[in-house]
């Protein structure tokens, strides 16, 4: 387990802010995007790439790298923003979002930019792919072998294929695998518990043989401590349920289902810039 110093925590918060600014840059370029779910998971992805994962932007295909799969591919603004911030590609690319043949489609494509590990967008695929990666990497029996992280939406959990993968992960004792269930409480049609409830998530994942912890998905201290405690139990895959706020950081959009996909007006973009400037001021103190 890694405990963050106050300086480290501040560093990660600044990186998360920079990533949120990149999200805004993408939206400004493309005019629209799945902003809500991107901003609920972005703190965790920032912590992964800047503190936890063994990855090298100069050598993105290193066989010994850790893998991150964004199963909920519509949250791609988050991964694009963090990868750009981490130096996997030039930030200019962010300005091509929405353009013909952009290397940043509305769901990620591993063959278009470095750092993306899987082509997601059809919900309910990422965990199976992650199980396969974890299994393949575990076969090589390297000491300190690579780890696999999979981020999923709470609405996404209704896809049955996830639960096939969840069962396979515990059956094959994949303790090099971690899932993040982004419990922002919302999906397209409203509250996840009303649309199709899989609550209590903790009990369901535990029943599938996973070791489960629930944390505040916007607190860098807890995020890093929790992820670096992997595996929570030897011989079991680890599940982190992230209590989050959809569209976190944009005051006018937070917690609103209508900002799942945001067609940004100029006024809203201005509000968003002000919101992020306010965060910046707070972090400068």
């Amino acid at each position: 387990m890694q405990t963050l110093s106050e300086d480290d925590k501040r560093f990660l918060e600044r990186k998360a802010l920079a990533a949120r600014k990149n999200v805004l840059r993408l939206i400004t370029a493309g005019g629209a995007g799945h902003v809500g779910g991107a901003l609920s998971i972005i703190d965790t992805i920032t912590a992964l790439y800047f503190k936890v994962m063994r990855v090298d932007p100069q050598n993105p295909q290193d066989p010994n790298r850790d893998r991150f799969i964004l199963s909920a591919g519509h949250k791609c603004l988050a991964i694009y923003s963090v990868l750009a911030e981490a130096g996997f590609f030039q930030k200019d690319l962010l300005d091509t979002y929405g353009q013909i043949n952009s290397k940043l489609p509305g769901h990620p494509d591993m063959h278009k930019i470095p750092g993306v590990e899987s082509n997601t967008g059809a919900l309910g695929h990422g965990l199976s792919i992650g199980v396969g990666m974890a299994l393949g990497l575990a076969m090589d029996k390297r000491a300190d072998g690579p780890k696999v992280y999979v981020a999923m939406g709470d609405g996404e959990l209704a896809e049955g294929s996830n639960w096939e993968a969840a069962a396979a992960a515990s059956h094959h004792k994949l303790d090099n695998l971690m899932v993040f269930a982004d419990r922002n409480g919302l999906q397209i049609s409203g509250d996840t518990v009303d649309v199709m409830s899989y609550e209590p998530l903790e009990d369901r994942w535990a029943a599938f043989g996973w070791s489960v912890r629930t944390i505040d998905g916007h607190d860098m201290h807890t995020i890093v401590e929790t992820i670096t405690s992997m595996p929570f139990e030897k011989g079991k895959p680890s599940c982190v349920i992230l209590n989050t706020i959809k569209a976190k950081g944009l005051s006018f959009a937070e917690g609103k289902a209508s900002y799942h996909y945001w067609k940004a007006t100029p006024e809203e973009l201005e509000m968003a810039r002000k919101d992020l400037a306010a965060i910046e001021e707070r972090l400068a103190q």
Binding site: M110, N119, S128, I129, M133, G136, G160, S161, A167, H171
Partner: protein, 310 residues
């Protein structure tokens, strides 16, 4: 006496052979490993065989994930359950992600003659060949199954290989030169080209012999790789014989005949007749009789060709 061999046993032995050659080969199964001929692989390489139970969608994604770490996964089960059931995972996780997975559908076509349409697979070739980058292989004799298993292991990229269930006659010698994507002219002729594939290649072969006896000169072509298709060979045959008849244990919609027509209609349109199952769920009963219901027995094929040429 015809040398008949079990396609699943043949495949299973070939899988062990490629496993010996290449330690990156792994096998994944869905509660059907022994029926898929995988017991010898399991016995030889227990640590490289993974059982998941009945979760074909999960296994499709898992195979892709394993491939991304450098393994060469063989995902083997009953044909409809590795194609139509997990189609989106095959399309996205293997195709779109360009992963080096070998999907093997055994007991394809109407092998499960008695069990009915849920277990039959008459659309697998049609749906998988729509996926960019996929190779679709349909071996027509036991020797070809062995050669194809080696070839698809060496080929980098996603592959679907379709196997039958009933014993198949040996049509080729051990030293037969099998190349992915290359059709095989088994017999030259000038009146008509008969193109066969997979489980019913032997029926087309027998039909050609009947027709020859009747004085009809048949060019017999074996298309074991339906994608990528050997266009050159087929265009040449169309130009030279001016008539094409295709034979497959598959729906006419989207299968071998359809794939050939897509090419010829643009380059060299000639008269075509496609023998296969038309727009219906197939019936049930003894396998050979079921083939007869859809005109896939040798005498029926010969009659169809004769009528077509008349």
């Amino acid at each position: 006496m015809t040398d008949l061999r079990d396609p699943r046993k043949t495949f299973g032995e070939a899988l062990v052979a490629v496993g010996e050659k290449n330690d990156r080969v792994v096998a994944l199964s869905a509660d059907s490993s022994s029926g898929s001929g995988m017991s010898p692989f399991h016995d030889r390489f227990p640590e490289r065989h993974f059982e998941f139970g009945i979760m074909e969608q999960g296994i499709a994604g898992i195979s892709a994930g394993m491939a991304s770490t450098g393994k060469i996964p063989f995902f083997v089960a009953i044909a409809p359950f590795v194609t139509s059931r997990p189609f989106e995972m095959v399309r996205n996780d293997m195709g779109y992600m360009r992963q080096n997975v070998k999907v093997v559908g055994r007991c394809g076509g109407m092998t499960y003659a008695d069990l009915g349409p849920t277990h039959q697979s008459l659309e697998d070739v049609a749906i998988v060949r729509t996926i960019p980058g996929f190779t679709v292989v349909n071996p027509g004799c036991p020797i070809e199954i062995v050669k194809a298993t080696h070839a698809i292991t060496d080929h980098v990229g996603p592959v679907y290989m379709r196997l039958g269930g009933p014993k198949m006659p040996v049509l080729f010698d051990e030293d037969y030169d099998f190349q992915l994507g290359k059709g095989v002219t088994m017999q030259d002729g000038k009146d008509v080209t008969l193109v066969g594939t997979g489980t019913v290649l032997s029926k087309a072969h027998a039909a050609a012999a009947i027709l020859e006896k009747k004085g009809i000169s048949v060019r017999l072509i074996n298309i074991h790789t339906i994608k990528p298709l050997d266009k050159e060979l087929l265009i040449k045959a169309a130009r030279e014989t001016k008539a094409i008849v295709t034979v497959e244990e598959h729906y006419i919609a989207g299968g071998l005949g359809s794939a050939i027509a897509e090419v010829l209609v643009e380059v060299c349109p000639v008269r075509m007749k496609m023998i296969g199952v038309d727009d219906q769920f197939a019936s049930n009963g003894p396998y050979e009789e079921l083939l007869g219901l859809y005109g896939l027995q040798a005498e029926q094929i010969a009659e169809t060709v004769e009528a077509f040429l008349a």
